[in-house]
Assembly symmetry: C2
Homo-oligomer: 333 residues x 2
């Protein structure tokens, strides 16, 4: 069914439409050199492609526009990833290596990605799940309020306030710190529950209640609430071509404010070094069904870009992959 030339026609339509943002007609397609056929022939192919749902025409006597299905085929079989230029690679590198801490790395990456792709960029903070506890700190804020701080080996810091039912003495705070620290230091996150669950039973009686409170918070912070945060940049890019989102910009912005939604989108990029592309209605997320998402995993979280389905997939895939790699390297060791 899908002969070579038909695919060429589809490719020409996708590339043309991405470039001009206008429906592509048979003549324009035929004028591409590689295709040495007449517009009439192209029309026949187009009719077939439309029949099979890869393209549509907005109205009779307009050119053709790719459907989600058409983009899908294009991405899967017709596009070759544009390699990034040396200059671009260099730019990525210098841009990211100036980062001073974890926050900075994440913020720089997301801005970088937004700039490279001219789309909305999303970067997830490194997830805790594979991290190791480097240090535990217990600080008394007031007599009945403790601050619990957990530091992981990747420089991530989690903090949480714990309210106590009764005042605590300074010495006891030190004890708690020592006990928790001893149990958790160097502990991998997955092993934390086992390491702390028995603690309250083995410590001095007067500390028992407080310690179990702290343990509960530790578990909540590290295990139950794997508070995954994402940040984004480049939302202004959504307005670049007003034509892409006639009056659907609203729901897109709304969806972007939902951290949970974004996490779901990034989350399903599974293996590192694999770029996932979700096109239009393939996103079951309300409001994002006119957008495409290109995402990848950097090892401890995801990065991605979001834009109109009419986007330059090869370029965006390349950029997302490159940034994911650099970030992964940067945060790895």
């Amino acid at each position: 069914m899908l002969e070579e030339r038909r695919l060429d026609v589809l490719r020409a339509i996708v590339e043309g439409f991405v470039l001009t943002n206008e429906p592509v007609g048979s003549r324009a397609v035929a004028e591409r050199r590689q295709l040495r056929v007449s517009p009439a022939t192209v029309r026949n192919d187009m009719a077939a492609l439309e029949e099979e749902g890869y393209i549509v025409q907005p109205h009779t006597s307009a050119g053709r526009v790719p459907t989600d299905k058409g983009y899908r085929l294009f991405v899967d079989r017709l596009s070759t990833v544009k390699p990034m230029s040396v200059a671009e690679r260099k730019a990525i590198e210098t841009f990211l290596e100036g980062a001073v801490d974890l926050d900075d790395v994440v913020r720089r990456s997301v801005r970088l990605l937004a700039q490279l792709t001219r789309q909305v960029a999303v970067v997830q903070y490194p997830t805790l799940s594979r991290a190791e506890v480097r240090h535990v700190e217990v600080v008394a804020m007031t007599a009945t309020r403790l601050l619990l701080v957990l530091i992981t080996d990747r420089g991530r810091v989690e903090q949480r306030v714990v309210e106590l039912s009764e005042p605590i003495a300074d010495d006891d705070v030190s004890d708690l710190r020592r006990i928790l620290g001893g149990a958790l230091h160097g502990c991998r996150l997955v092993d934390v529950p086992a390491a702390v669950s028995e603690l309250p039973d083995t410590c001095a009686p007067h500390l028992r209640r407080m310690l179990s409170g702290l343990v509960a918070v530790v578990l909540e912070v590290l295990v139950e609430r794997p508070e995954e945060r994402v940040i984004l940049a480049g939302t202004a890019n959504l307005t670049r071509s007003t034509l892409d989102f006639p009056h659907t910009l609203r729901p897109v912005l709304e969806a972007l404010e939902e951290q949970v939604v974004l996490l779901r989108l990034l989350g399903s990029s599974n293996e590192p070094d694999t770029v996932t592309v979700r096109i239009g209605a393939e996103n079951d997320v309300e409001g994002l069904q006119t957008t495409s998402i290109v995402s990848a995993d950097y090892g401890f979280g995801g990065v991605g870009v979001l834009g109109p389905t009419r986007m330059d997939y090869p370029a965006n895939i390349a950029a997302v992959r490159a940034v994911a790699r650099y970030v992964g390297e940067l945060l790895g060791p």
Copy 2:
């Protein structure tokens, strides 16, 4: 010049325009009960108001629209702050009191404010400047890389990686921790420079270089880089009435991505319990000259909302003030 009735006319125009988003004509104004005059009279007043720059007409034979100057007069002299309903106050309270930590307070406030006002909301993280150091922690990540963590009395945690030129022994890390901790514990932020500047000179010689490195970072984190962060919510509200931002949405979104810009906007709300309103071109910020900002200080930072100049000032002022108060209370003691 500004007789009573003329001001009434201006008030009617502002209120009418905010309500309908359409230029207000003389008849509409005259039909407000309080004004017992004919449209013709109103027209005379309007001509005068236009003469003085409070209103303009988009084109001949259209109604009048307030100018920035008109809104300014309205805000300064004509509006009475709408008190918040009991239900609203209650809602604020219950919404905010569920917060578990500092991050949570900030995030909840910003969402709340966006919801209440249906505008873009901005909330600044509590600034460090009036805080006190509660605890200092030095953790070895690798032999040549330390993580410096500073905890303030308001639960804010600042962290920073420090690269060392030579490996450090565990014992030395403990020493550094003790020295820094002793010097800084309970220290008010403004006093930090004095407290640490002499430290390197008085400590053991082999620690001197590292300690001065750490001291430099402490100063940078706490003093030179008063890294003020803001977060925002409700950007989707900008699209509510497409009419407000015909094609000027772009620069607004761009400006909102600049933390520095937002900080400047919030920063100049000086005293607590005073609400600042900046209208249209009063904002010297590029791209925000078609927007208004209503902001207030909660004691350790600012909160505010941003929207089209055509906004319901009384309601927004009330909301911003209320949220600022609650947040201030929540973070105060």
